[in-house]
Symmetry: C4
Subunit: 233 residues, 4 copies
């Protein structure tokens, strides 16, 4: 058995959640799961339909995107995952999808405004939308640069990747991450849900105001603060 079996299993299980949650059409998405002690992550192979995946079809890649184990070509977005793992040292899983509402906000090149407690239960800011990449980045090492586009946006706006576990890349689509691959998939589903509600909110009331700070803080703290009282832990 491969010494990477545990992350192959984790990445496989998380990838299989994407079609179940309605977040992908065909192969338009991928999930990876990391083992930091081994310095590698397991990621979906490129272009393989979900129904054909097995744990052993996951590809093992290092943080410079070199394949370490596996017979298939890894996801075309592998370098973006690699960059995020290399520079953000507390994340355990990364997800990329082209989910319907999240991608539409990315195409609209707008941050998703924080309109309610569903959003505030998960993060305290608008869901950021990084601008489309500049031509030099696109023509260069594109997927590698996509990782930097994400990190640069977080740095420019003083966002903390441990609290804001999601971003839209302008004209492209969402990326999310989390402590585990399963949590990163959960975040992709939350982003899609919040994106749909924000769209509908603006249709129902074009002057809908952002959520006020007291409600933002209350909801985020009750789930994530030191005195959180949501869940069983």
């Amino acid at each position: 058995m491969s010494k990477y079996q545990h992350i192959k299993d984790e990445a496989y299980a998380a990838n299989m959640q994407l079609p179940k949650l309605g977040l992908v059409l065909f192969t338009f998405g991928n999930v990876s799961a990391v083992d930091r002690s081994l310095g590698v992550f397991a990621i979906k192979p490129s272009g393989v339909p979900y129904e054909d995946l097995t744990p052993d079809s996951m590809v093992i890649v290092d943080f410079d995107a070199n394949t370490v184990e596996g017979n298939l070509r890894p996801s075309s977005d592998t370098k973006t995952h690699a960059v995020l793992y290399k520079h953000w040292d507390s994340i355990g899983g990364v997800v990329h999808t082209h989910s319907t509402y999240g991608t539409s906000w990315a195409q609209a090149q707008r941050d998703i405004p924080i309109f309610g407690t569903t959003h505030a239960d998960h993060l305290t800011t608008d869901i950021p939308c990084a601008p489309p990449m500049d031509d030099a980045m696109i023509k260069g090492n594109y997927e590698y640069e996509t990782g930097f586009q994400i990190m640069n946006h977080f740095n420019k706006f003083n966002l903390d990747y441990k609290e804001v576990e999601m971003i839209l890349v302008g004209n492209h689509a969402p990326f999310t991450w989390g402590k585990t691959a399963a949590k990163a998939v959960y975040n992709s589903a939350v982003l899609e849900c919040v994106a749909q509600m924000a769209y509908l909110t603006e249709q129902i009331n074009p002057q809908a105001p952002r959520l006020k700070d007291t409600l933002i803080n209350k909801h985020f703290q009750r789930k994530h603060g030191p005195d959180s009282y949501y869940g069983q832990s």
Copy 2:
């Protein structure tokens, strides 16, 4: 067997309807069922996925939100349920969801206008939207105050909780209730259906008028009046 088994069973069955009716993502919702002779209600445990629920995982809580039986922490919204049971003495079940269209109207901070007979079959007024809570209430005993925010809004606008079995809390999401937990879940599904149709109605005709009083009364009375002739009772 617990002397609370009957309300654990009732609350469990009603909770399991939420994902089946498409009203929740992950754990974003909860249902409770009351036994007034015992002065307690059974409610979903906090943050437990629906597929992991059993009747015995329901938590028994009194009307001051003290846990009476159960090893798990009750829903983070338990105090809101408790306040409603304590003050509205004819309700048998309470539901809270973040259903897509209902939550979007709550985020838009608008009452849902009564546009048609689907709405009038269930209530004779717009579906009320309470304003977002003030900062003192949010920073205080938040979920407890949410119950009062709901009741205060009913009092201010002379609404009768026995007829209007649903409300939106501004920037947050819907709450519904009913004579049983199953009826409260039914009301959550009706609210979501009516919320979607009202959104579409305004998109199709921004000048769509509210339903006239004769039709409101006719439809409500044929289902709920003394001479009602809907159903088999």
Copy 3:
């Protein structure tokens, strides 16, 4: 065995298509099937969930809405069905739903414009929306008058019920009919499909023009004209 078994079976099978086609929530819809030689029709009992229906729970009613056979109360909309069967002598089935998009156009009090060939494959006019009923009709024999509201609208606009097998009743919801109950259900699904596309068409292009007459006639004739060449008959 009841001498009405064949229409009970037909009405049952057609009713069970409504939830399968996504046209009803809970019990918000009903189908009937007629036997003109016997002068009766079979209709869904009022307020009974679809999953509890059996062929034998269908109620047999005459064209004056008197129950002829069956232990349950017939649909609250029975008189509307009876009026349509009594006056339109070639229809074999009637359907009433509160389907999402059709009902939203009814609430918007607008005819559904004929924008494309999907619509023209089934009828050559806009889908008519009768105005909300006047107060005298509502306060009188409401469901009976609903049937006349439908027929009066057809008469006023010279519509032929054999060609236009559907209508919206303003502020209420769709009614459809056809040579059989199954065809009437088919028409309800077509109405919902066309209603959704017309809504989207206006959102995408508020100046979208109606379909021109040559295309209307071509598509309707190839399915319904004397030289039709669609299908296997």
Copy 4:
């Protein structure tokens, strides 16, 4: 066994994907698969429900739309398929649907703007919308002329059918094609997905700009260029 069995099987399997992918209501769609060495294609019979189809119910037709084998009448759109096979010699499958979002753009008589990478992964231009056909074409050999309407639009705008494998016919609905019937179905699903996102993008931001050329080229080339690195081939 028929010497056409392989394309009957291919056409059958591809037709059965349409309802599975949510692209058709009832019989509103059809797929064909060609064998160029035999000069024929297999196509869905007209008006037969998908659940009743078998491989042997597929009809074998030549490029002038004459039936070569089969007891059923072929799809009413057969002549359009025949024209495309006859003139575009590298396509192996053709699909016609009335999918919800694609048809709504066709009814709106608008090209679908290229707003993001999901679109650019598949083609480098807007998805073209041919104008509604002129009256002479409609009154003449309608389905045959529909094929020419598609080809004329490609010629007029210098579009390459090998790269742009999809079109909307104004006031009508989408047609797609590809090297195989399965690929043509894939393209129908991509068109529907892109059509929904483009609709939402304009709702979220009416001033959303088209995707810039560098991103269009990057995404198309990484999937389709000589140095493509998507998938396993």
